[in-house]
Symmetry: C2
Subunit: 317 residues, 2 copies
Amino acid sequence: MKLTSEDAFLELIDKHFPRENQFLKMGRGDDCAVIRGGSDLCVSSDLFLEDVHFRRGYFGAEDIGYKALAVNISDIAGMGARPLGFNMDLMIPWGLDRDYWNAFFKSMASLARQNDLILAGGDLSLADKLGVSITIWGAAGPGGKFIPRQKGQPDDIIFTCGDLGLARVGLLSLEERGLDARTSYPQSVNAHLRPKPKSMVSTLLSAAGINCLMDVSDGLARDLPRLLGPHNGADITIGDDMIPSEVRTYAQAKDVAPEELVFLGGEDYALLGTADETTFLEKVAGIPGIRKIGIVTDKAITLNGEEYRRQGFDHFG
Amino acid sequence: MKLTSEDAFLELIDKHFPRENQFLKMGRGDDCAVIRGGSDLCVSSDLFLEDVHFRRGYFGAEDIGYKALAVNISDIAGMGARPLGFNMDLMIPWGLDRDYWNAFFKSMASLARQNDLILAGGDLSLADKLGVSITIWGAAGPGGKFIPRQKGQPDDIIFTCGDLGLARVGLLSLEERGLDARTSYPQSVNAHLRPKPKSMVSTLLSAAGINCLMDVSDGLARDLPRLLGPHNGADITIGDDMIPSEVRTYAQAKDVAPEELVFLGGEDYALLGTADETTFLEKVAGIPGIRKIGIVTDKAITLNGEEYRRQGFDHFG
């Protein structure tokens, strides 16, 4: 059965997403929703478009519904914040049946529920291709502050949480072989289709009082300079323990350096932050999944001892 | 010159849109922007997509930039609220040069400035067609409350502010004849390309303390039942004075009833509200542009004395 009217879509959305929670004064169904006032809110928007960010050939409806929201939750995690609600603008191509959209919304709603996130509103439109634009907002974590970029000082420790390079191998192998890539690169494919926002670690980092954090969505090579800002550099070490085994296998098969795959990455949805040495040793190092990858300097960026030209993934490249 | 990198776009955006104002604690450039806390916020999202909501054949870059934001401001006006900020997700097709985007942003930024609206963030992506997804937020107007739908009671006065049907004639004539339609239907074309959100009147209605308001974006025939809710009806009179002269001319040329064009409408971006008779007479009737169009009943909807079947513009139709 096809969904042929706006009302049928709205009914399906109502089936999966509650209309209100404690963070909304008024939910979906009016010109606007009303967010309960109080503390500062952080806000971010991300596009998730067919044939740009995903392909329907190897993304199931449930993967698309999941990832469209997950990448937005990751932006909130990159502020050390807690997501509260989101709006969704949905671009709907012809020819997808009710089961497809049911799977899409069900998967997204499940992720929303896990994060206590309310769908506050949005817009629906026909379009040539499937696309999702989500705007998400959140409140500061237990540390009481939003954690910005560019606050690191020379000698601060640089750390990550989350695998780097795995999602890149997932994307490359999916583009080469479609879902057959799952046989050789199951973790990589999963990292690309179903990235896990690092919300729990973000909360712990907020509580630890670190002062510089972001989410790595365009790859370490491109996002590290954004973390550091114009005046700092970094000495980065990508050791053997940072190279996921599938990345090593893929690198070997393609005769490229595995460190390059890790450093270029892309769509890792890891966290990247800095902390002074004391804070790092006393409060950060013990958080599960945290890995020291280098230190802030006042010189250029070096990777395993060699200067690295600044590059990475440009969405327009 | 083409804009070939994300950075070039961000630079152009920075040229037109300031990064911060008093309503933001932190502006563009991090994972999120931070909205200063305090009062409740209303929030809304709208899509504005090429070949669905506009055609590049007769929408100039400056019309697209303007209207994408204007339709969102209208949603805030529909709550009797004051817009504060917005996020923009922008879908960018190849082949449009810097002058094009400069005109697009310049026009949008001018409208934002007139409304004291800050661009807080967003996302950029290549896409097959041009598209804009904007999420806008605002604070309550001088009445201190957001004005919802479905609060009208039988015998309340129903009123509008803004021409109905003109944008529909604009759309139809533009689709038929492209920009040549300007010769015969200049006001209609302008109503479709450059709708004016009724922000000033919305503010006055908030101050007047009315309790039911919305913006008419899908046409009166479709939006009136949304205003009334499931239990109320209305007796609507579309008198001669409500029919813009271009609508009358177009109706004559096409041999249709002009009232039908007014009632079906679509993309009018007018305001539609109700008030009890005393409030209406004492506080609303004198607001410039307000026009009484009928009364709330507990029966069906009638138009000029005859029962009207509920229909209107379905974005999926």
